[in-house]
């Protein structure tokens, strides 16, 4: 078993394009780590460098304690599942799975035992005589998995293995992959561009943008404490609302001024931007932190605004509501029991403990909790506990 460490890793393709500038990342042993980011952010490139399929331009790459910069893929004790599955079309499923073992000169009986075992785990013992083109998408995906697990590698590398499956199968396979991880207990590096997949599968998530790591953390900490606007917008669905604003001071209190409305900042957040009066920021708040105003006082620092309803998308338990205040538009998730109608005016409560302020320049989060640092899991749990009570 082995973890992975990348130190100042850089990747420049032969055509001069720098896909990864300077990557530092430590993946602990037996962890399920998800690399997530939009298309073209060099997720596959990172994975291929771990696998040894792409050369590292500079920096150091460790698997376990071993420096593997010059180690060819076959000696890295890794297995990889490709986005396209990359099954060998001219071999039977059995041979597909056995191929890696054969190349390593494993004895025949041993191969037979291992292939049978792997195909049992994946429930495809009856498919072994077929050729890949005679299988469905889901079955092919299993074969690709089988080819990886049969070798008992130190590290599993998955490159968007579920993206070719239909929605239902994808959800099912997510669970199966997690179960598989628990059973095999091996380091997994999993690449996806789908943030939902990342959130549901990873114990640690690495968010990438244009070849640079934006943030590393648990799913909840990324959700609650995004370190910049990109992560805030990328994680969570529907996406966080972003409104341009300035900071105004009045009677010693700080306010977020969006032009359409003013919101008072809670004490702890105000303290961080006190000397930034007049500077431009981006105010961020998730749709789920905007609620319809109720009589009783909320347990968090609340602010109220009035807004007009544009569109309502009912989802059953709740509804996505598109609203406007002045010339600003934003989204809220509101409990479906409220009888709202389009074009109505509605009074809203904003959970100011969970709002974010991003610097206009650089888009860094300016008012993040320091005590509950963004990368610690405890912080996230604490914040999550806060609003257990209010989902009545």
């Amino acid at each position: 078993m082995a973890g992975i460490k990348m130190v100042d890793v850089k990747k420049q393709y032969p055509n001069g394009f720098v896909a990864i500038e300077n990557m530092n990342l430590e993946i602990p042993d037996k962890e399920f780590v998800v690399l997530v980011g939009p298309s073209g952010c060099a997720k596959s490139t990172a994975l291929k460098m771990i696998a040894g399929l792409e050369e590292i331009s500079s920096g150091e790459m460790y698997i376990g304690d071993r420096l593997v910069n010059k180690v060819p893929p076959k000696d890295r004790e890794i297995a990889m599942v490709f986005q396209s599955y990359a099954l060998y079309p001219h071999m039977t499923i059995y041979d597909n799975i056995a191929f890696g073992l054969k190349m390593r000169k494993t004895p025949k009986e041993e191969i037979d035992k291992l292939v049978k075992e792997a195909s049992e785990i994946l429930g495809m013992s009856d498919l072994l005589d077929r050729k890949p083109r005679q299988l469905s998408g889901g079955q092919r995906q299993r074969v690709a998995l089988g080819r990886a697990i049969v070798r008992h590698p130190q590290v599993f590398l998955f490159d968007e293995p579920l993206s070719n499956l239909d929605a239902k199968l994808r959800v099912k396979m997510r669970t199966e992959l997690k179960k598989l991880h628990e059973r095999l207990h091996t380091t997994v590096v999993y690449v996806t561009h789908d943030q939902v997949e990342a959130m549901t599968m990873g114990s640690t998530i690495v968010v990438l943008k244009l070849g640079a790591i934006q943030q590393v953390g648990s799913p909840l900490s990324l959700y609650s404490f995004p370190s910049n606007r990109f992560v805030a917008g990328f994680i969570g669905s529907p996406s966080m609302n972003f409104l341009d604003c300035t900071i105004a001071e009045e009677n010693g209190n700080l306010f977020v001024d969006t032009g359409a409305f003013r919101l008072m900042l809670p004490e702890d957040k105000a303290a961080k931007v006190r000397d930034h009066g007049g500077k431009e920021f981006i105010f961020g708040i998730r749709p789920e932190d905007i609620r319809k105003r109720r009589e009783k006082k909320e347990s968090y620092s609340e602010e109220h605004i009035n807004a007009k309803i544009n569109v309502i998308e009912p989802l059953g338990k709740e509804m996505y509501v598109n609203l406007s205040a002045g010339n600003l538009e934003f989204m809220a998730i509101i409990n479906a029991r409220f009888p709202l109608k389009p074009h109505e005016e509605v009074e809203l409560t904003l959970n100011m403990d969970r709002m974010h302020l991003f610097e206009k320049e650089g888009e860094k989060e300016a008012v993040a909790h320091t005590a509950k640092n963004a990368t610690t899991l405890e912080g996230a749990r604490l914040m999550a506990d806060l609003d257990e009570s209010d989902d009545d």
Partner: protein, 275 residues
């Protein structure tokens, strides 16, 4: 769905066209085949019914025509050309398809364009060169020149097949523990084999049918079948019954192999010409 009048009309046209195409394509070949079984007197007529003979096939192998050695030359030249061209083309195609490097496009275009150099341009200097090296009228000379058009075509065709093979499959094999050579042997080659075989067949046909080089560079020892036909053009005129029999000798092997691999053949045809 019921056909409209307009659709019925075109459906009729389609059938008429089908018949016309069939006649247009098959008749010249059919007539050659028929003639090859005729005695001289019948050959110089438009008779369709006649008493067939196999004599033509026998006499073209006898004096003074002696097609035996010609057949041998054609076989040796075509096989040798393919045996050199296809491995070289496969390697080059793989490099073009899988590697990025400076000047790659320019190189690929040069390879492609070399197909378009008119054969007369190639043969002029080689005639002089081979004359000085005493290589005129040898099979080696023909093989060398046939490579000039078989090789570039094969490179482009095989490249098309390799391009169609996802690189991930090769990466998977590398992760599975193959070195570069093993990847080629266990994965790439078996998968592009249909393409390689098709290119080999194309190359074989092109060499087999080659006429200009053989006409200029050979006169006795290394004469091939196509040029041998010229020998049936005597002072007494063309001996059509023998010509037809010799034609069969040229056509049948080509038709047989191209028909066996017709599916690859048809898909391979369009490759290298248009994407």
């Amino acid at each position: 769905m019921a056909m409209t009048r307009d659709e019925k009309f075109w459906e009729g046209m389609r059938w008429a066209g089908f018949g016309a195409t069939f006649l247009f394509m098959a008749f010249p070949i059919f007539w050659m085949i028929l003639t090859s079984f005729k005695v001289a007197r019948d050959a110089y007529s438009t008779k369709v019914f006649f008493s067939p003979t196999l004599n033509n096939f026998i006499s073209i192998f006898q004096d003074p025509y002696n097609f035996g050695p010609l057949l041998f030359n054609s076989v040796v030249v075509s096989f040798s050309t393919v045996a050199v061209a296809i491995p070289a083309a496969t390697c080059a195609a793989y490099a073009f398809s899988r590697y990025q490097f400076k000047g790659k496009n320019a190189l690929m275009v040069s390879v492609l364009s070399s197909q378009f150099v008119p054969p007369v341009v190639v043969v002029l200097p080689f005639f002089i060169l081979f004359k000085n090296l005493h290589l005129l009228d040898t099979r080696l000379a023909l093989v060398i020149l046939n490579l000039s058009f078989v090789l570039p075509f094969a490179v482009w065709m095989i490249k098309g097949f390799i391009d169609a093979l996802p690189p991930d499959i090769e990466s998977a094999a590398v992760v599975d523990g193959c070195n570069r050579f093993q990847v080629l042997r266990h994965i790439t080659l078996p998968l592009i084999m249909p393409g390689v075989v098709t290119s080999a067949v194309f190359g074989f046909i092109q060499s087999w049918n080659e006429f200009l080089f053989a006409l200029i560079l050979t006169n006795q020892k290394a004469v091939t079948l196509t040029v041998g036909l010229m020998g049936l053009h005597t002072d007494k005129g063309i001996l059509w019954e023998h010509m037809a029999a010799a034609s069969m000798l040229i056509m049948i092997p080509i038709f047989a192999i191209s028909f066996t691999i017709r599916e690859y053949f048809i898909s391979g045809l369009t490759m290298g010409a248009v994407k």
